[in-house]
Structures are given as structure tokens and as C-alpha cells.
Symmetry: C2
Subunit: 354 residues, 2 copies
């Protein structure tokens, strides 16, 4: 076994979820994630917990959708809820065999199933949980890499000193919380929002691995200005590129994309909340060297910021409601981030790096 798999497992068990004696642990994985699931199993046992693995894959969902009628899709999976309710910790490993397996399933069926699963997602989020990836060919392919290259890429962001990384994101969070607004400035960009009454969350690898971001939900109707996102993102199987948005009183009043503008339009027009920002965030993981169209990684890119159209996190005191939450990323090496009047980041350096 690649020794980095063991190290990754140790971080998930010891840092992210802090498994302790007596813990019941559920591991969600695919066959591609099996080696990491085995390593997590061993480290959970070492910590005195009892592990148990569930297959959670797009292939399984596809097989279910291929067989199920609308009545069956709405059948509540009480066995899944029973399992989730009886665990203390969930480790969710994403390692798909194919990122497009669900492309041919009607959005109605997928939305209906997501609704059926809402209660289970809620139970899951009430546990000590972490989501991670295991390097596999489908993710490597999505990132334009060979599997070996992707492994190096993936572990560069995961196998870092999380205690140190945690200190840094907490320093940024504290500085942000001393002020009442956030402002992103850069090429074709000057975007402002009030953050009064909102909470900034420091992402230090407890829920996402890798992590490295500080995020909040802006006060919805205070977002003003324009922003140019130079990092592409994938939505509904399409790669949307070079997005420009203009906000007035929190609402998108103008938008464009150099590629797949129709998809951007579809996102913005999804529902009442999808033309507002649910999240504004700063990415801090410099172990991530480039975007790969996988949001777990891309939104953590060091020296970037991202904004999400749609649903806000309640943990941030956010209120915006939407069926979607679509992150879009901007590199900031040429930009500045201001909290109130305080320049906390400028041209590649945070305040504590100057």
C-alpha cells in the first residue's frame, strides 16, 4: 500500500474526526476508495472505535434510478437513517469510477431522490463527519493528469501540518470578525458586502480533507459591485469559464461567461435565491497547485477567493434559500481583500506574512 494512504487515514481519524475509544464509525466509500477505507478501518480500530463500511457510489444510485419508479424513489430508506443515527462519526470517501455516471438520469428523479434523502443528510451533518477524496483515475482524468501525477497533486494538499494550517485560518477568521464587511478588489473586480451578524468559519480539515478556507454568508441584500472569476468551474457536466457578475442590492443584475454562458444563466435563474450570494470565502491551501474542476479542491486553492450563488450555510447565520449552491473562484495574486478598512491580504500575502 502507498504509505501516503496510511498517512491520509491517520489524519482523517486523528485530526478530522478525533475518533476515540467506543466510537461507532461509518465509512462511506466506493470500490475505488477501498484501500483508503481499509486504512481508515485499521486506524479507527487503533483508536478504539468500531468501523463499518457502506458502499456509496454513483453506480449504485444509477442502478437504483434505472430500476425505480417515482413511488420507489420516494420510499424513505429507514435502514440508512438507522445506520446514520447510530454512528458517532462518518468518514465519506469520494472516489468515483466515472464522474459522468449520473449524466443520463433525469434531473427530476435526482431532485426527488435528494428530497427523500434530506432527513438522512441532516442526521449525517449532526455527527462528527469529514468528506475526502481518494486519488483515482476518474478524478485524475477530470484534472487532466495521470493517476500518479494526481496522487502527488492530491497528497500535497492533504499531507500537511494541520495544526499549523489551523492556526492560520483562525488568525484570518479573528481578523475578519473584528470588522463588519468584506471587500474583494482586483482586475475588473470591486465587490463589497456587509457581514454584520454573520459568522466566519475557519475550515481547518475537520469537515473537508483537504481544507483551507475561511467563509461566511454575506448579508444578502448588501452585496454591491462587480467581480471577474478567472477560474473555470463545472456544473451540469459543462465547464463554465471567465464569469463576470454585477450586483446591485444583493441581486445579480448583469452576468456573462466566455464559455457556457447558457449554463451560467440556468444556474442564476434556478429559483428565487439563486441570483444572490450564499457564501463569500477565502481559499488558503497553497498545497493545491492548480484547479481540477473538483470543488473540494478548487475552492481551497491558496491565494484565491470564491463566491457561491444560492444557498447559505445556517452555521454562518446565513438566510438565503435555494436549491443550488454553486461556487465560483477567482485568483487573487493581483488583488486585495479588505475587512472593513483593514487590508488583510494583498498581492499574494496575508497580513501575518508581511
Amino acid at each position: 500500500m502507498d504509505p501516503r494512504i496510511e498517512e491520509h487515514a491517520k489524519i482523517l481519524v486523528e485530526w478530522s474526526t478525533e475518533v476515540k475509544r467506543g466510537d461507532m464509525v461509518g465509512i462511506l466509500t466506493s470500490p475505488e476508495g477501498y484501500e483508503l477505507a481499509l486504512a481508515v478501518t485499521k486506524h479507527v480500530a487503533k483508536a478504539g472505535g468500531r468501523p463499518f463500511s457502506v458502499l456509496w457510489t454513483d453506480d449504485m444510485s444509477r442502478a437504483f434510478f434505472d430500476g425505480a419508479d417515482y413511488e420507489t424513489i420516494q420510499l424513505f430508506p429507514k435502514h440508512l437513517l438507522a445506520m446514520v443515527e447510530s454512528v458517532d462519526v462518518v468518514v465519506a470517501i469520494n472516489a468515483p469510477s466515472n464522474t459522468k455516471t449520473l449524466a443520463g438520469v433525469s434531473p427530476e428523479k435526482q431532485m426527488l431522490n435528494a428530497k427523500t434523502m434530506e432527513l438522512i443528510m441532516g442526521a449525517y451533518l449532526s455527527k462528527r463527519w469529514v468528506g475526502t477524496i481518494h486519488p483515482c483515475n476518474s478524478l485524475a482524468q477530470q484534472g487532466n493528469m495521470s493517476l500518479d501525477e494526481y496522487r502527488d497533486f492530491a497528497y500535497d494538499a492533504i499531507l500537511i501540518d494541520w495544526k499549523e494550517a489551523s492556526k492560520q485560518v483562525y488568525m484570518i477568521k479573528e481578523r475578519l470578525e473584528k470588522q463588519r464587511s468584506i471587500r474583494f478588489i482586483g482586475p475588473e473586480t470591486d465587490l463589497y458586502a456587509s457581514t454584520e451578524g454573520r459568522i466566519w468559519i475557519a475550515g481547518d480539515g475537520k469537515h473537508n480533507m483537504p481544507c483551507g478556507e475561511v467563509f461566511t454568508a454575506p448579508v444578502e441584500d448588501t452585496v454591491e459591485g462587480k467581480i471577474y472569476f478567472d477560474v473555470p468551474f463545472q456544473q451540469y457536466g459543462k465547464i463554465v469559464q471567465d464569469v463576470r457578475l454585477t450586483f446591485e442590492k444583493g441581486v445579480v443584475v448583469d452576468f456573462s461567461a466566455e464559455k457556457e454562458e447558457a449554463t451560467l444563466k440556468q444556474v442564476i435563474e434556478t429559483d428565487e435565491g439563486s441570483n444572490k450570494l450564499g457564501e463569500m470565502a477565502i481559499g488558503t491551501n497553497r498545497g493545491i497547485k492548480k484547479y481540477t474542476l473538483n470543488m473540494l479542491y478548487d475552492e481551497k486553492l491558496g491565494d484565491t477567493i470564491h463566491c457561491a450563488l444560492g444557498r447559505a450555510y445556517e452555521d454562518c447565520n446565513g438566510t438565503n434559500q435555494s436549491a443550488i449552491h454553486v461556487d465560483i473562484i477567482k485568483s487573487m495574486k493581483e488583488g486585495e481583500i479588505l475587512a472593513g478598512d483593514d487590508v488583510i491580504y494583498s498581492k499574494g500575502k496575508f497580513f501575518f506574512e508581511v
Copy 2:
């Protein structure tokens, strides 16, 4: 996908477990069994059930044993129990990556874990459950075949007319239950036992797939005579061959094996119940053409009988207790089976085939 996988899945869902609308279904599998698990998932959905897959593998057990101390092994997995208790149906797919994965784990650890899991096994057996295999390299290797040869071998025994096969085993069961004893006669063999008050069970693919056997628990202290088992079996990683047993008042008073006699001795001397028969049975699946050292298949071999040392099934009204249940098989093409004075099988033919 090999179309036989779909047919196999259909039999498991429609014949074995009779999944119906509203059923919660747990599927236990390994990565090697993934394709069958996917096909089962689809057919469960078609039948209106909600499937959910759990990874249940020797690799997982090994990883757990490698990490766990004795205290952790005794930690009760309440998440597993919650899951099992909340399903209506369990489909257990055996498709190991390696049949020797647990060979290096101490028997004490394995026995202790089995004890911790007893309650879960009990809950599992109270459901509609079926155990099956999915053809894979480790099972093919154990049976001295290539994977393609093994697939043909495996499906020949599974993809049969189960309604017809069911009729036959029920005919045999009825005939046996009219009498109060069973007798196996053949080369170096004349073994008798009372079956008074015991139940004969017709195995027609509801719990094992493939199936094809009729079995009971003999009245423990009435087993008399001698028997020569010409089909080898595997125990503790050893292949035991050409076993001869002599019984007096139900107890083994003489034994020999031409290969691995020490292992046979270990089996017989395990505990108080391991030198008595817990099962006497007739194999009826002529789709199985040869033994492969996999008991799910071997004990169902057409034109054979088998006896098990050790634990008796309560469902048969058996009372013998033991930590072991070790089946040993004898071909009967040269032999006879008598129920009381009624010759129900002679030299390759059952009473209904004469």
C-alpha cells in the same frame, strides 16, 4: 455486463427473497461482488424496494484485527445491529479478493469477534436472507479453474428452474418425514441414525444460492456405524481427504484421514459436541459438476450426501451444541439412501426417477 449477472440478480430478488414494494434491503458485498450488487440494486428497485449496500469483506475484518486490541474487538457494533434490525431482506454476496486473508489472524481474536457478532448474526437470520457467491478469481483459483471456466461452473448451478428444483427437494423431504430414521449405505459405509422428532428441511434456493439439499439434525446419540467420505474438504486452510469415521451411540470412536488427519483430529476434539453429528443431508444440485472446496457449492453436489460434525440447526429440532459445524461429503453414485425401510435413492436415481 455478463447477462448471467442480471439473471442471477433476478433469481436472488424474485425467487430467494421475494422482494416486494416497500421492502428495505441490505446488500452485503465486496468490491469483487460489485457488479452483482449493482444488478441486485436495480432489481430490488424494480420490485419497489429500497436497497443499500454494505462492504463485508475479509480485508475489512483483517484491517480491523490489525488495528484492534482485545477491548476494541469486544466493543459491540450497535450501528451494524441498527442497520440489520431495520431491514426486511439481506442479500449476502461472497466474492473474496483472497480466501486466505484471515489466515494470519489469531484464532482467539476471531472467536472473540464472532462472539461479539452473535447478536447481529441472530438478527440477520431472523430476516428474509440469502447467501450467494459472485464468480471471482479467488474462488476460481480455489476450484482449480480459470475465471471464465468458473463462471460457467457457477452459473450452471444457479441459473436453473428453481420452481422445478423446489418440487423435487420437497418430494424428498415428504418421503423422509414419513419415516423415523435415515441410513446411508455404500462402499465402506453403513451409517444409521434415528430422526424421530426431527424436521427435514428442503433447501430450494431461499437461503442459499445455489441450493439443492435436504437436511436434518439426527437424534444425537443414535448415530451408529461407519462411513467413508471420498470428497475432500478444507478446514483451517488445510485440505482434508478420504475421511473414515466410526460411530457408537452417536460418538466418533474411530477416525482416519489419508491427508491432514491432524486437522481432522483437531476438528473432532474441539469441544464436547464436536465428536457428534449435527447434520445429515442429501445433495441434489446436478448443475454442480465437481467439488471446488467451497462448501456453499460442494454440499449441494448432486448424487452426494454429507454429514456435519458439531453444531445442529435449531430449525431441525437439533440439540447438539458446538463451536464448529464442519461438513464432510460422500458421493453416492455407488450407494443407497434409506428412510426407515424405504429406499429413496439407489445408484444415481431418486425414487421419483426410477
